[in-house]
């Protein structure tokens, strides 16, 4: 009975066997995914972080180096702490931090090591090193952070920090991993690719408890880490330090350039911060403080701030007019005071006197001749031709566009051209009278301190400049490669430069705290109008180069709300140039150094004016409230 049922049962045995073989064929032979997963299980990449490139000054003095720090690692499984309070005291952390970090580590893995405390400094590590053996499950992993030889150049150097999610998403190289350090702002960002070097990876096989079991494929896939390239900057570290000392307590910037090479000797901005504050364990805490400071400590005024050009721009007007031939170097032009307000008297002016006295009405006439050249009988059409010519010429001096200095964030400034006015005056019926305030560097013109320093270099060079830059060469494996630059000419000729320089020489002589003993300087003062008409004064501007016959330094100084350019900015520039050229400051009755360090640039009348403006504002507010 029921004998046939044996076949059903035997059939079931075979059927299940077949089902297994088919399923196994699918996951073992067809699906390659499991092979990858198996490799991911056993392979632990061990990253060797490369040595980040060093940064030197122009004299091969070290500015930025790598400082050893220690990440305290933990394997939660092995942790047995008898006295948590003692442990926390040793590390200098709160008990809540301890618990929080332990929880994070445990969530990651109980058996694999993870970072418990990041970036313990060398000194702190020295304190805990001998006692760490008492705490099983903890060990240190050495790394490096940036160290600085001087508390200067914060905004120019930039800083390094952990790569952000956004940067990772934007990274097209595929090099960066979460947790990597990356240069943020300044030279660290600009030269990130060179500085960072190349990470090395060795692939280890690990067992399920994360314990190493030898190399994967005998190290065939391993790579060696390549240290980063060193940067040789153009900065003169001593001069930079001096410049930053002079700027302390003020708001402003100093840019000094070696005119013959375009090398930036000094790039200082104030207020600023100390670079070491954004390195190491305190980064998070300090960054919040620095970034939220109302004084904008991360804003590098030297190349990011734009100001109305002011009187220093008169030199550009003169140079363009001479190059265009609308005035002659010795041509005497009678100037009355009917045009615009003027500090200079009426009378006959040649171009040198125009610069010396900074005559507004003289340059009004110069601008008129530039713009209204009677190339077209129609006044409006003629103005268009003239302004186009003028704007092109000005842009050749590096204005209106970034000069291309090798740190991020450079502002363009603004040179208003035909398109610009066409956008404002939709029916295009603008003419010379609309644009005449440009003649004395006012109106819409905006320039950066860097562009003005470059202007000083152009005049020093008698008609050309070299792109200002902060890095002149790269050092790799002991060999130095220098960057190459070309001269950029700003006009057709250069024989008219002596006239301008003569005016600037005389201008310097007339500025009390500008001249340097035994060295002839050429300079131009300026006052950049403060857009905000509140209780503060205009910005003090000064541009100069020295020595006149063999220029070694060209400089621009901006001190905000310090009034007339002949005082704060001129004195600061004079000191920086003297320090560079002589190596010391000649003491005399002018007490320039004390004057700048004290920072009290205003006279009684200016102080009264500030007081008056303050009261006016208060009255207005009171009125509005009624």
């Amino acid at each position: 009975m029921w004998d046939n049922r044996r076949y059903i049962i035997q059939g079931a045995f075979v059927l299940i066997g077949l089902v297994f073989l088919i399923k196994l064929f699918a996951i073992q032979v067809l699906d390659k995914d499991y092979r990858t997963k198996a490799e991911r299980n056993i392979i632990q990449p061990i990253v060797q972080y490369p040595f980040r490139g060093l940064i030197y000054d122009r004299n091969k003095q070290l500015i930025v180096y790598n400082e050893p720090v220690y990440d305290l690692m933990v394997v939660p499984k092995d942790v047995a702490i008898a006295d948590t309070t003692e442990f926390c005291e040793l590390l200098g952390i709160e008990k809540e931090v301890f618990l929080e970090n332990m929880k994070t580590a445990r969530t990651y893995s109980r058996v694999k090591p993870s970072v418990f405390l990041k970036k313990i400094s060398h000194e702190e590590y020295g304190k805990i090193q001998d006692l760490l053996y008492k705490y099983s499950g903890f060990f240190v992993n050495p790394r490096t952070v940036r160290g600085y030889t001087s508390p200067v150049l914060a905004n120019e150097l930039g800083y390094t920090g952990e790569i952000s999610r956004r940067q990772l998403d934007r990274d097209t190289t595929g090099y960066y991993r979460s947790g990597d350090n990356i240069g943020i702002t300044g030279l660290e960002e600009q030269y990130e690719r060179l500085l960072s070097g190349k990470r090395g990876v060795s692939y280890k096989q690990v067992n399920v408890r994360g314990i190493e079991k030898g190399s994967f494929k005998d190290g065939a896939l391993d790579t060696v880490s390549v240290p980063g390239t060193n940067l040789i900057t153009t900065i003169d570290l001593e001069l930079q330090t001096y410049a930053e000392k002079l700027l302390k307590g003020k708001t402003g910037s100093i840019v000094a350039i070696d005119p013959s090479t375009g090398e930036v000797l000094v790039m200082a901005t104030a207020p600023t911060y100390e670079p070491k504050m954004l390195s190491g364990r305190e980064f998070g805490k300090n960054y919040g403080k620095i970034a939220s400071d109302s004084a904008k400590l991360l804003f590098n005024r030297a190349h990011m701030a734009t100001y109305p050009a002011g009187s220093v721009f008169k030199t550009v007007q003169a140079l363009i007019a001479l190059d265009e031939g609308v005035i002659k170097p010795n041509e005497q032009i009678y100037v009355d005071l009917s045009g615009i307000g003027d500090h200079a008297p009426a009378g006959y002016y040649d171009v040198a006197r125009g610069i010396e006295k900074s005559s507004n009405n003289y340059f009004l006439e110069v601008m008129r001749r530039l713009v209204v050249q009677r190339k077209n009988p129609n006044y409006i059409a003629d103005s268009r031709i003239g302004l186009a010519l003028w704007a092109d010429a000005v842009k050749k001096f590096g204005f209106g566009a970034p000069l291309g200095i090798d740190i991020p964030g450079e502002a363009s400034g603004l040179i208003p051209d035909v398109d610009y006015y066409d956008k404002i005056y939709v029916n295009k019926n603008w003419g010379y009278s609309t644009v005449q305030s440009l003649s004395i560097g006012q109106g819409e013109i905006l320039v950066t301190p860097l562009q003005v320093a470059n202007l000083a270099a152009i005049i020093a060079n008698r008609g050309y400049y070299i792109q200002p830059h902060l890095v002149k060469g790269f050092e790799k494996d002991g060999t130095v490669t220098l960057k190459q630059f070309e001269k950029k000419y700003t006009g057709k000729g250069s024989d008219y430069y002596p006239a301008i320089i003569e005016g600037m020489k005389r201008s310097a002589q007339a500025t009390t705290r500008a001249p340097i003993k035994d060295i002839v300087i050429a300079s131009k003062t300026g006052t950049a109008e403060n857009g905000a008409k509140d209780e503060t004064l205009d910005h003090s501007v000064f541009m100069a180069f020295a020595p006149v016959d063999d220029p070694k330094i060209a400089i621009a100084v901006y001190i905000e709300n310090a009034g007339w350019g002949g005082r704060a900015a001129a004195t600061t520039a004079s000191l920086v140039m003297e320090m560079y050229l002589k190596g010391y400051i000649e003491k005399d009755w002018r007490n320039r150094e004390e004057y700048v360090l004290k920072g009290d640039f205003l006279d009684e009348e200016q102080k009264r004016e500030i007081e008056r403006k303050k009261q006016e504002k208060a009255r207005k507010i009171a009125l509005e409230q009624q």
Binding site: I9, Q10, F13, F20, L24, Q28
Partner: protein, 423 residues
């Protein structure tokens, strides 16, 4: 007068041969699963599972000799006592047993541990065989079916109390020998239908289940008969099915502990469950198996195996060792060996003159079949992870000895198949 024959006379060598191959392969794979390239332990080292398994294999040889020397008739006569003894042991283990992995299933005897539920299968098979072999017992009759189910499910009740789900499931294997001896097929069909309905309940919303049941019911009525009684019975069955599905779904959702629920859900969707939690065993087991490829990574070369990624690898997940190191080919060989073994056992069962031995033979085949099916299915994600060993392969004395005894008791009966069974 009896002639003293060799104790090996009439022994079924193909089965012995298959047994030896499986046991030896198991032993090598146990070594592979505990092998650590950095320590100098060898396969004989008793501090490793492989060394201890060799002792268990030695014990098996002794057991085999004892079985072959013993009278083959005692199994039928002693079946009730043996059954009673093991029921007592199952009760005792609930009180005196050691709790391991959450189940009180083991007696801790110091040098080794004993799992009575492994041996109870043998006692149950013998008693059931004895009951069925009674000529008055007809499996087509309800009261006899009831008695048979009682014999099966009494030990299951105690095992569930341990609780040991995997070992309990194996007792459903007795459905196969009962089926062979005339249990109506409807039992298998109904059980199969409810199992299918249960799986569907976990996968589909209740509304879809209702639609499926309705459609199947209507088709059934259309193709069979449109008599009133057929329509009423079908409707009742449909209602029962929907009720079952609803009740099962509710019970699964609310009564089953989360870890068991996850073990089931992970089969359908490996992403639905935490891969480091409930899904971990299955996930790692599949990675090990899947990475084996067609021909495997080679003996002692399985990275997932030797670096310890698969938990319980020498016992319940021993198949993953084989599949990683010997690939699809190795799996093919072992699966084929099992299928041959099981079919060979049914062939032996069929040549028995007496119902007792035949039923017992089918029971052995069915128990091996259930272990084989559930164990491999769980390592490749076709069945929830329930801890039951792969016969002859997995590390462990209780498992190896109980299967050895089961198999060789059958062979002993087979050797005397021509002799008259006297009571």
């Amino acid at each position: 007068m009896r002639r003293r024959d060799s104790i090996l006379k009439n022994l079924d060598w193909p089965i012995v041969f298959l047994y030896i191959i499986l046991v030896v392969m198991g032993w090598f794979n146990i070594f592979a699963s505990v092998y650590d390239p950095e320590t100098a332990f060898n396969i004989f080292d008793v501090s490793l599972s492989s060394g201890r398994q060799l002792l268990f294999i030695g014990g098996s040889v002794i057991l085999i000799i004892v079985i072959l020397l013993m009278d083959f008739r005692i199994y039928e006569s002693f079946a009730p006592y043996l059954y009673a003894l093991f029921i007592l042991l199952l009760m005792a283990v609930l009180v005196f047993g050691a709790k391991i992995n959450g189940a009180r299933a083991w007696f801790d005897l110091g040098i080794f541990r004993l799992q009575p539920s492994e041996f109870t299968k043998l006692a149950t098979a013998l008693l059931l065989a004895r009951y069925i072999s009674n000529n008055n017992v007809k499996l087509t009759e309800f009261k006899h079916q009831l008695m048979a189910f009682f014999i099966i499910f009494l030990p299951v009740g105690f095992i569930m109390l341990q609780p040991d789900l995997g070992s309990s499931l194996v007792y459903f294997a007795f459905v196969l020998p009962l089926f062979r001896e005339g249990l109506p097929a409807i039992y298998l069909i109904v059980a199969g239908s409810f199992a299918l309905l249960g799986v569907l309940t976990l996968l589909l919303p209740i509304t879809i289940i209702i639609i499926i049941v309705l459609v199947v019911g209507i088709i059934w009525i259309l193709v069979t008969s449109r008599s009133v009684s057929n329509i009423v019975i079908t409707s009742l069955l449909a209602l029962l099915s929907v009720g079952f599905s609803y009740g099962f779904g509710y019970a699964f959702e609310n009564l089953v502990p989360k870890y068991q629920k996850d073990r089931i859900l992970v089969i359908f969707d490996s992403n639905s469950v935490d891969p480091l939690g409930a899904g971990y065993n299955l996930n790692q087991s599949k990675i090990a198996i899947g990475s084996g490829g067609f021909s495997g990574k080679g003996f002692l070369e399985g990275t997932q195996t030797k670096y310890g990624y698969v938990p319980e690898q020498s016992t319940d997940f021993i198949f993953s060792t084989l599949a990683e190191e010997h690939g699809w080919l190795g799996s093919f060989v072992v699966i084929a060996l099992f299928v041959f073994l099981m079919i060979r056992i049914t062939v032996i069962a069929e040549r028995q003159k007496f119902k007792f031995a035949r039923f017992y033979g089918y029971s052995v085949a069915a128990i091996i079949f259930f272990h084989f099916t559930i164990n491999i299915a769980m390592t490749i994600g076709l069945f929830p992870v329930v801890g039951i060993p792969l016969p002859f392969f997995s590390y462990g004395g209780s498992s190896l000895w109980s299967f050895t005894i089961m198999l060789f008791v059958l062979l002993k009966m087979d050797m005397h198949r021509t002799q008259v069974l006297s009571r």
